[in-house]
């Protein structure tokens, strides 16, 4: 079981090269296949996640959630997707058409790119980048631009306000997000996510880095634009924020990308702070799925419990609380490492 997926990949490559295909082409084909798999998993996963979110919110709110289509309403999301696909694609006349149309596409591309470096099991990262963590943070930051594109291109005051909030929020929270991960990087001495996971075989980093974990958790919620930090949408005041003018599948792409981001950020949290694919008995790729889903459940729990923070409170919280905490964490980690080295442990 452990090497099931890797074995399939190897078998495929050897079968192709055995039939006379050049190894380069076989590898390229494998890469394409891997990306196809990622896309398929992402889309299917989002279908499950939306259903799960509705069930979880239903549970929290003492109602049933979807329960008509299929057992426990599992096909509800599929029906919703079909509805979205068949909706009329409205592009308002006053929009900046090119920006308006490409924003959702870029958003989903950026969201899927995040999966390139996450080790989805032992030796199962698609691209084993030596600077994987840096790649993740920098690509994750790109989604800000997509929301700004959506807000600007829509030519709508609500959208622009939502986009402006989003940019302010995401740029402020990127700093504590990156700083919080620095503590882990200092301990392991590597940016490679696979190496970070291997360094956690004795103790998970959320034990060694509780401050960093807390900072990452809060900053990640803000990065994901999820409640209580869902400023760009802020349904109750900005109608739908940056997505106000989008309909049908274009809107659905944003939705898809947000959930894709949710999975990616949760998977990174599992990788960096909860030992990634490490775990007893079960195969590694099942462990990361379990951990990711548990983290996502916590995100959902948060979203369905808390009110939305006010924009200025949000900014001052980042600059006055989270960034100092993450800086203190770096100092403490540095002292700790020196201390341990000095003691010769």
């Amino acid at each position: 079981m452990e090497r099931l997926i890797l074995d399939i990949a190897h078998l495929l490559v050897s079968w192709l090269t055995g039939r006379g295909m050049a190894p380069v082409w076989a590898d390229l084909l494998l890469l394409l296949l891997q990306w196809g798999t990622v896309l398929a998993i992402v889309t299917l996963n989002v279908l499950i996640l939306i259903w799960l979110e509705r069930k979880v919110s239903g549970f929290i709110q003492e109602r049933l959630g979807p329960n008509r289509l299929g057992p426990f309403g599992v096909f509800q999301t599929i029906a919703d997707t079909l509805k979205l696909l068949t909706k009329e694609d409205i592009i308002p006349t006053q929009t900046d058409r090119w920006i308006f149309k490409t924003a959702p596409m870029f958003f989903i591309i950026v969201a899927v790119m995040l999966y390139a470096v996450i080790p989805m099991g032992q030796d199962m990262a698609i691209v084993d980048l030596s600077a994987g963590l840096l790649f993740f943070i920098s690509v994750g930051a790109l989604s800000t631009i997509c929301i700004l594109m959506a807000g600007w291109g829509s030519n709508n005051k609500w959208s622009l306000l939502g986009a402006m909030r989003s940019v302010a929020q995401m740029i402020s929270y990127e700093i504590p997000l990156a700083f919080s991960l620095l503590g882990v990087v200092m301990i392991t001495g590597t940016l490679n996510l696979g190496e970070i996971v291997k360094a956690q075989d004795k103790v998970w980093f959320f034990v060694l880095q509780p401050l960093a974990f807390l900072t990452y958790f809060i900053a990640a919620t803000a990065e994901l634009n999820r409640g209580p930090f869902d400023m760009p949408e802020a349904e109750q005041e900005l109608t739908a924020g940056a997505y106000t003018e989008y309909t049908g599948m274009r809107w659905a792409l944003f939705f898809l990308a947000e959930y894709t981001n949710l999975v990616a950020v949760s998977a990174l949290m599992a990788t960096v702070f909860f030992g990634g694919w490490q775990g007893p008995l079960l195969p590694s790729w099942i462990w990361i799925i379990i951990k990711t889903y548990l983290i996502m459940l916590v995100f959902m729990w948060l979203k369905w419990t808390f009110p939305r923070i006010r924009m200025d409170h949000l900014m001052s919280f980042s600059w006055k609380v989270l960034i100092p905490i993450s800086l203190i964490n770096i100092v403490i980690t540095g002292i700790g490492i020196k201390f341990i080295q000095g003691m010769g442990w």
């Binding site: 709110q61 306000l161 109750q236 005041e237 419990t305």
Partner: protein
């Protein structure tokens, strides 16, 4: 420096958190509110004009549609105005039934206030818990009149039917659970750090301004002015009941929330006393078959509704239809302070302010 400019955004009339067709036009400088203009009339149904073409009795269901969140209260106000016009005596039992239903309506309206404030601030779950508890009160209304939301149970001279079997026990059950419900709201909604940060010190309504604008009801009491018509000018049998007036000290959004939460418990106290003392007997007084008040008679009757001082002015021309009806709608008057309490705040504060002023647009626009 970049050249910046002020801009207007229209909150409503099509907007998720304007509680109906309210249109607030906000002049913004970035996220900071420079000014707000309230535009009303999107739910205007010319209720006052309709009254002129209906008989006195026929208008009762229209009155229920004024404040549809506490429908027994506007009905009560209207029928008491007509009774004053005719000089009709109402039997004891009917008076007690009216008090019980009126206070239950107030509790239901305040519960919805708490829930809708929560959802306006982004806490979707808060609403569901409030609606769950309000549902029990709606079921009580269904027992009395068959109607849940817009009950037309009051009649000129009494109530339409006697209380059904099991009603008193059901009311007692709800009343005894009220402290538990309020405690739950405190835990989930009021006690939340984020909600407190968004409500404390936001939308401060000074007592002088509130009095100058004629703001009434929980909004006025949240500013620290002890004025409640149930105590200041007791109508019906309210002078017999023992209850406190919850008062705020700062007049901000949080005070408006806590005052209402305390009022839920006080209304529970009043209903408990009414349930205990309710006598047996008639439910309808002696009312003429055809209601024709003497020509030229006029009356103004006011009650403390869930939103504030709800007044009915009636003028009779001797026919069976009123010559003129005017409704003093507390929601309409309370809304007028929105620009004053929103200026200088953030965009998100407007939403909190609208939610805590708690307008019912059906009543504001009439």
């Amino acid at each position: 420096m970049l050249q910046t400019d002020e801009y207007t955004i229209n909150i409503g009339p099509q907007h998720p958190s304007t509680h109906g067709g309210l249109h607030a036009e906000a002049l913004m400088d970035g996220e900071i509110v420079k000014d707000v203009a309230v535009h009303l009339g999107y739910v205007h149904r010319s209720v006052e004009k309709i009254a002129e073409s209906r008989t006195y009795t026929q208008f009762i269901p229209y009155a229920a549609r004024l404040d549809y969140l506490a429908s027994n209260l506007p009905c009560l106000g209207y029928v008491q105005a007509v009774e004053k016009l005719l000089g009709v005596e109402v039997p004891e039992r009917a008076e007690y039934i009216r008090v019980i239903l009126g206070e239950l309506s107030r509790i239901a309206a305040h519960m919805l206030f708490v829930g809708s404030l929560a959802i306006d601030l982004g806490a979707t779950t808060g609403l569901v818990y409030c609606l769950r508890d309000r549902e029990r009160i709606m079921n009580l209304f269904e027992m009395t009149s068959g109607q849940r939301l817009i009950a037309a149970y009051m009649r000129i001279g009494g109530v339409s039917a006697d209380l059904p079997e099991g009603f008193i026990t059901a009311v007692e059950g709800v009343i005894s659970d009220l402290p538990k419900m309020v405690k739950e709201y405190d835990g989930l909604i009021t006690g939340n750090e984020i909600l407190q940060a968004r409500c404390r010190g936001i939308g401060i309504l000074k007592p002088e301004l509130a009095v100058a604008y004629g703001v009434t009801g929980p909004n006025l009491r949240a500013s620290g002015v002890p004025y409640d018509l149930r105590k200041a000018d007791p109508y019906g049998i309210y002078s017999r009941f023992d209850f406190d007036l919850p008062l705020g000290s700062r007049g901000d959004c949080l005070d408006r929330l806590t005052v209402r939460l305390e009022e839920i418990e006080q209304s529970g106290r009043i209903s408990a006393q009414a349930v205990k003392d309710i006598p047996e007997g008639e439910i309808m007084g002696k009312v003429p078959k055809v209601i024709k008040p003497a020509q030229g008679r006029e009356v103004y009757h006011r009650i403390e509704s869930a939103k504030g001082e709800l007044g009915f002015y009636l003028l009779s021309d001797g026919s069976e239809k009123p010559a003129r009806l005017h409704v003093r709608a507390p929601s309409f008057i309370n809304l007028m302070v929105l620009p004053h309490i929103s200026r200088g705040g953030k965009l998100q504060d407007i939403i909190a302010n609208i939610a805590t002023l708690d307008p019912v647009l059906g009543e504001a626009d009439r």
